[in-house]
């Protein structure tokens, strides 16, 4: 009997955890006010987690664009349609690869750093000190980081896409000798603002929210030990990557 109960408890734990995370999100969102303090700390965090991810996003975007055009040209040449490469690269980037890869890179670069930072603040009693000063750490610590994540990921996605297109142009036009006019005109006429561009923007907003929520939640409830901080960091990157891919499928099925 007790074995059954513990099995049931283990099965129900993810549901309870998801509920707990939902309550945490509501607690955070309830604190959104147009205040100078929140604005400043959100901007600071946007710089810390967003601006500092720029280099990795630019490098990855550039090489993803190059490899995508290499693969596409290789495949399209068989059908004599290599002039369609910019359309294929653009559609794949704006709809899927841009938001998803940026989100995965963001989870590895910024999500882990958010979880580790908050976990460490907990381990060194800084969160406790804040509560004792009658300052709500959810509002003061978690909310600015969450908002910064929601703001940063779409901006980073745009940058990723721009560098990927740049990589694709350099490879297709510079290396493979494709006509630049054809490349740009196919891209301009083939990419739809509503479906392709905005679809990607919505996805990246949701991914930013998922990653930063998971990061602040696991950081905030990390065990106040070195091992606890490590576990929170690992859980953040694993769970947020999985959720990004699941939500990508769900959103794509609605947006397509």
């Amino acid at each position: 009997m007790p074995k059954d109960r513990s099995k049931r408890r283990n099965l129900l734990r993810p549901i309870a955890e998801a509920g707990h995370c939902g309550v945490f999100l509501i607690r955070m969102l309830a604190g959104i006010r147009l205040e100078r303090g929140l604005l400043i700390s959100t901007l600071q965090q946007t710089y810390m987690i967003g601006a500092r991810s720029l280099v990795i996003i630019m490098i990855c975007g550039f090489f993803v664009g190059m490899v995508l055009s290499l693969q596409s040209i290789n495949a399209l040449q068989q059908f004599g349609a290599s002039d369609q490469v910019s359309l294929l690269v653009g559609k794949s980037l704006f709809r899927e690869l841009g938001p998803v890869l940026t989100a995965l890179l963001f989870a590895g670069r910024a999500g882990t750093s958010i979880a580790a930072e908050i976990g460490l603040m907990k381990a060194t009693s800084q969160i406790e000190a804040m509560q004792l000063m009658a300052i709500d750490p959810v509002q003061r610590i978690a909310l600015p980081r969450f908002l910064a994540g929601v703001i940063s990921v779409p901006l980073l996605t745009a940058l990723f896409n721009a560098f990927a297109i740049m990589g694709a142009v350099i490879f297709s036009v510079g290396v493979m000798g494709l006509d630049p006019g054809v490349f740009w005109s196919k891209l301009q006429t083939g990419i739809l603002f509503g479906k392709d561009f905005m679809g990607g923007v919505w996805k990246s907003v949701v991914f930013g929210g998922i990653i930063s929520l998971i990061a602040v939640f696991f950081g905030y409830y990390a065990k106040p030990t070195g091992e606890g901080v490590g576990t929170a960091t690992t859980q953040t990157v694993v769970l947020s990557s999985v959720l990004v891919l699941i939500f990508d499928f769900i959103m794509t099925s609605f947006l397509i």
Partner: protein, 256 residues
């Protein structure tokens, strides 16, 4: 007789099946410096957490200025905490803020003071703990004693009525220890505070405090002036106060 500022009545606190505090009662006089002493792991810090409302008693009550702490709503508890300063064991300074910003945090959060007034108040507090020239330093560049003094300045920046100290002397060299002890005394007298110090440093406490409570085996075993306790005929009190190896208090931890 004047009403005590803190009244703990028949307090029982359990963690799982372990009884941490059993039927503990204390009255703490307004304006006094009081020590709660006892061997490590006896529940001294737990009492501080019960006073600050971080924990709730299983039985009995904690009253501050006549308010039952465990019956307050979240909002009321945060209001009440504005009158309580806490110095945690390691200082718990915010590692991402300068010394100045650490001390200014409660003022920015709870008052509408101008930047000029905040600067004046923070610098006055830093001056009072002898660290006026450290305002731009980051916490990691301070020594243990300096960090503790900055934490003291932060704990009293809101001019609280009560300050709770959790092991303020732990890990300090003798000079830093005496400096912190003198500052606690000076701050208490100048600001008319009530100070509650949790410690096992008997030597420093006998010089500093007006009244002591001694905990052992989950119970309050003695109370009185430090001098009276030093000469207590109660074997457990005598063993603890005079640091004797032989006696009723066991060095080994009790069975869970």
């Amino acid at each position: 007789m004047q009403d005590p500022i803190i009244r703990i009545s028949n307090l029982v606190y359990r963690r799982g099946t372990n009884i941490i505090l059993d039927d503990v009662s204390m009255d703490i006089k307004r304006g006094s410096i009081v020590a709660i002493m006892g061997p490590s792991g006896v529940g001294k810090t737990t009492i501080l957490r019960l006073i600050s409302g971080q924990l709730h008693p299983n039985h009995g009550s904690v009253e501050i200025n006549g308010q039952h702490i465990s019956k307050l709503s979240h909002h009321e508890l945060y209001r009440c905490r504005e009158d309580i300063g806490v110095l945690l064991q390691n200082g718990a300074l915010f590692t991402d803020l300068t010394v100045f910003e650490n001390i200014a945090t409660p003022l920015r959060e709870h008052t509408d003071l101008s930047e000029e007034e905040i600067k004046d108040r923070v610098m006055a507090k830093l001056e009072s703990v002898g660290l006026a020239n450290t305002s731009d330093l980051m916490p990691h560049s301070l020594s243990g004693g300096m960090a503790r003094r900055v934490a003291l300045a932060r704990a009293v920046i809101m001019n609280p009525k009560i300050v709770l100290f959790d092991e303020p002397m732990t890990g300090l060299d003798p000079i830093a220890m005496s400096t912190v002890a003198r500052l606690i005394k000076k701050t208490n007298d100048n600001l008319g505070l009530t100070s509650v110090i949790v410690t096992h440093n008997v030597v420093q406490m006998t010089k500093l405090v007006d009244y002591c409570f001694v905990l052992a085996g989950s119970k309050l075993i003695a109370e009185g002036s430090p001098q009276a306790l030093m000469h207590s005929s109660e074997p457990a009190v005598d063993q603890f106060m005079n640091g004797r190896v032989e006696g009723p208090l066991s060095f080994n931890s009790p069975k869970p």
